[in-house]
């Protein structure tokens, strides 16, 4: 039996429709891609007039901003990278699978919290608190890692009957109350230490001995707040990279007598290295471009200072503050667009690098998987 055929008269119409639709889609798709490309072209075009002016002015106006951007990004990376990578190592290799399937989406949701909310908490809650409790805040940085090690040591000493109740694969969860208690202990301890060794007030001590000024909204606050915002993106990518390491590699190392930590250090980290590198790169890209957190948590003063207790002003914050007031075509306008161009090129390059590295890594895993 032959299949029913459409009447011949409708065939050309269908072909025509198809041609038109394909043309439209192609035009639309290329148009969208061109529009995206237009961003780079526009930024370049608008900075061309600056070339006529000579470069000294642009450099002197933008250099403090560049320093501020860099300083904020470095502070955020110093805070976020260890925490994010540690969390990724633990959740990819040590955590129970059931817990990981809950924790990972939760930490990824952290990324969705709007920057303006994080900035508000940092600028109006965290900054005044740290100003009053600077010693406690600095003590916490030392105290928390120590308390984690203490928890581990106690667990090792603990009776073998207690250990199954607090399984190490769930440590990420049951350490939360422990850390909370340790924070309280540190807050109680800090004033004592301050009274004993630092003459009662750390800020005055710093001022007297090192000549360091303390500003309420400073680099430390920006680092913590922006670090909080970029932890999830670094964590998520690094965790993917580590979890995708072929299990045969780890098992082989352990079969040859390595402990899990040795297997991680000698096998998993070198294998997943490019993936972790690209995760850190993407985090750096975010830290450089983040606007609202820097705007709200730093005091927006364009300074050249390396002190973590002084304010800063980044490219993005300068654009957000000054560009609405700058007259189009004026010098400030072009300078700020140059700042935007720098941000654009930097993040684009960093992201491309990360993407290429990740692509290579995926191919490497693929090869390793085939050999298995």
């Amino acid at each position: 039996m032959t299949p029913p055929r459409l009447p011949l008269s409708r065939q050309p119409l269908r072909q025509l429709q198809d041609r038109i639709a394909t043309g439209l889609i192609t035009a639309g798709g290329i148009g969208v891609l061109m529009a995206i490309l237009a961003i780079g072209v526009f930024l370049l075009w608008e900075t061309l007039p600056l070339l006529a002016l000579g470069d000294t002015l642009a450099v002197s106006r933008l250099a403090p901003l560049a320093w501020g951007t860099l300083k904020a990004a470095i502070a955020a990376m110093l805070f976020a990278t260890p925490i994010a990578l540690g969390a990724a190592i633990y959740s990819a290799l040590f955590m129970s699978a059931r817990l990981r399937s809950r924790i990972k989406p939760t930490l990824e949701l952290m990324e969705a919290i709007p920057g303006v909310v994080v900035g508000f908490i940092a600028g109006l809650v965290l900054a005044p608190w740290i100003e009053q409790h600077l010693a406690s805040a600095l003590l916490l940085i030392v105290w928390l890692p120590f308390s984690a090690i203490l928890a581990g040591a106690l667990w090792h000493i603990a009776a073998s009957r207690l250990r199954p109740r607090l399984p190490h694969t769930w440590a990420g969860l049951w350490l939360i109350p422990w850390l909370a208690c340790m924070v309280v202990v540190a807050l109680w301890l800090a004033p004592v230490i301050e009274q004993q060794w630092l003459g009662g007030d750390l800020r005055r001590f710093l001022d007297l001995h090192y000549g360091m000024d303390y500003v309420t909204r400073n680099t430390l606050i920006v680092g913590v707040a922006m670090g909080f915002a970029i932890i999830p993106s670094i964590y998520s990518l690094a965790d993917d990279a580590l979890a995708d390491v072929p299990p045969a590699l780890m098992e082989g190392a352990q079969a040859l007598g390595a402990s899990r930590w040795q297997a991680l250090w000698k096998v998993a980290l070198p294998t997943a290295g490019p993936g972790i590198f690209s995760a850190v790169m993407i985090g750096a890209g975010r830290a450089v471009g983040e606007t609202m957190i820097v705007l709200m948590a730093s005091s927006n003063t364009a300074l050249f200072s390396a002190s973590p207790f002084e304010g800063l002003r980044s490219f993005s914050a300068a654009i957000a503050i000054e560009l609405p007031e700058a007259s189009p075509g004026g010098l400030t306008y072009h300078l700020l667009i140059l700042a935007a161009l720098v941000l654009f090129i930097f993040t684009f390059l960093v992201n491309t690098l990360a993407e290429v590295v990740r692509h290579r890594l995926r191919r490497r895993y693929h090869r390793l998987g085939v050999r298995q």
Binding site: T22, I30, V32, G86, A87, P114, A148, L343, F344
Partner: protein, 472 residues
């Protein structure tokens, strides 16, 4: 020989690892702790503001009496001891809404039931006592006065009777307050838990449904919610078709060669470009470029005051559409790539043209992926503030962009946005102290909206993966 259970073996390997894994575990715990602390702070401070606070009457050592709501305590700057901040209201009499009191200085403290709190339009809050109500020549006192005020408040201000309240402040001064200027009246100390809960619900509703009052220190955020939602809807109307078109082009029509791969990487990377850069593009191209041209062509009689040549709803949503385009393209492409080629080949083998194959087979299968992309785009746009500061957000928009006047939707108007409202109230307000509780509430609302959108996207994606898993 003694056999060791698998558990003890596993435990033994863990013991050999030493203490490093504990540091890593603490990193997870610390991240979760920070997230929990942030959310708890927002929820408790954001919601407790609406609870009718107890008013205290405090007698100081100097004989002064103040009535107010205790807000917080802080250590005294020089000597030991605490000081407490009271919100006392009555700005027209005392000159300030706030008063710091040393805790040691307080000799007597009580919470009498007859203390009242009024929200008024010209001067902000009044805290004190109600003596009487003067209405049409007669003076009402006691329960009658209360009933009269309650009745009056049920009507809109313009229709209320011409009566006045006789009020007494803490130090015994009396003042007259016309009923028409009162927006809210309560005696929190006399309320039961049930009544307080009811008032709490009412306050939350007023926060969501009213406009801001008293330089953003009171009232609600309705215009900001409205502006955010309208902008996000306009944005999704623009971004969905173009994002899907681009994804279909990249995945179904373009030849898969080196160039397509490059374009794909480029699009993916644009998602990582800082949002402020999109804001700069929007300002330079949409506002000054296209908007300026539109003004010279169509609105030249209104120049030099710009119509489209300044930030507005249209430019803001266009900018955000461009910002979220990569999100939609990437999500849709993932959905398209996951459809097995056999489906496409089957459709074509049965005689379908490419258009028919796309519209009848491929697109219906990719719909959940597209939806996920759009929801993620909306979630990103709802929380984004930086680019909006350049292309059209306003501190206080006098006119809502949607009204009964032709052409109903005013694309050129500036609008209010939740995120920017939060930023502006917290950092540029006159009385930041008074605005802080509302800022917390706004932040909570914003976080809830964004998290709800993200959770929807996650569940949708999860559902989609499971469905596909069954099919294959």
């Amino acid at each position: 020989m003694k056999r060791r259970s698998p558990h003890t073996i596993r435990e033994a390997t863990w013991l050999r690892d030493g203490l490093w894994p504990w540091l890593c575990a603490a990193c997870v715990a610390l991240s979760l702790l920070m997230l929990a602390a942030l959310l708890t702070l927002l929820v408790t401070r954001g919601l407790s503001h609406f609870w009718p606070a107890t008013l205290e009457e405090v007698t100081l050592g100097s004989g002064d009496i103040i009535i107010g709501q205790s807000v917080r305590e802080a250590p005294l700057p020089q000597n030991a001891g605490l000081e407490r901040l009271y919100f006392t209201g009555n700005r027209e009499i005392t000159g300030a809404n706030w008063r710091w009191v040393s805790v040691d200085d307080i000799t007597q403290q009580s919470t009498p039931n007859d203390l009242i709190r009024l929200e008024r339009t010209p001067w902000g809050d009044f805290i004190g006592r109600l003596i009487a109500v003067e209405s049409e020549g007669q003076q009402l006192t006691g329960q009658e006065a209360w009933d009269h005020v309650k009745n009056a408040l049920t009507m809109p201000p313009s229709q209320r009777a011409n009566s006045e309240l006789l009020l007494a402040t803490a130090d015994g001064q009396t003042l007259r307050q016309p009923v028409s200027g009162i927006s809210h009246f309560q005696a929190p100390n006399a309320m039961s838990w049930g009544q307080k809960t009811y008032v709490w619900g009412q306050n939350v509703w007023r926060f969501l449904s009213q406009g801001p009052r008293a330089a953003n220190t009171g009232g609600g955020v309705w215009p900001a919610i409205f502006g955010t939602v309208l902008m996000v809807i306009l944005m999704s109307v623009m971004v969905t078709p173009f994002g899907v078109l681009a994804a279909i082009y990249l995945n179904e029509i373009a030849h898969q060669n080196r160039l397509t791969r490059l374009v794909r990487i480029g699009v993916r990377n644009l998602a990582g470009v800082p949002s402020i850069v999109y804001g700069v593009f929007g300002l330079g191209v949409f506002v000054y470029g296209i908007g300026g041209s539109i003004d010279t062509w169509f609105f030249s009689d209104e120049l030099p005051s710009p119509t489209f040549g300044t930030g507005g709803l249209l430019w803001a949503s266009l900018t955000l559409a461009l910002l979220t385009l990569p999100v939609v393209i990437v999500a849709t492409e993932e959905g398209l790539a996951r459809i097995p080629d056999a489906q496409r080949e089957g459709a074509v083998a049965l005689g379908a043209t490419r258009l028919e194959m796309l519209t009848r087979v491929v697109l219906p299968m990719a719909t959940p992926a597209m939806l996920t992309g759009v929801i993620l785009a909306v979630a990103r746009a709802a929380g984004e503030v930086a680019p909006l500061m350049l292309v059209g957000v306003a501190k206080l928009a006098p006119q809502v962009p949607l009204d009964g006047e032709f052409p109903y939707l005013h694309l050129e108007r500036k609008f209010m946005h939740l995120g920017y409202h939060l930023f502006d109230t917290a950092f540029h307000g006159e009385d930041v102290q008074a605005a802080i509780p509302l800022v917390y509430a706004t932040a909570l609302l914003l976080v809830l909206i964004v998290l709800a959108l993200n959770l929807t996207a996650i569940f949708l994606r999860h559902h989609l993966r499971r469905q596909r898993g069954n099919e294959c």
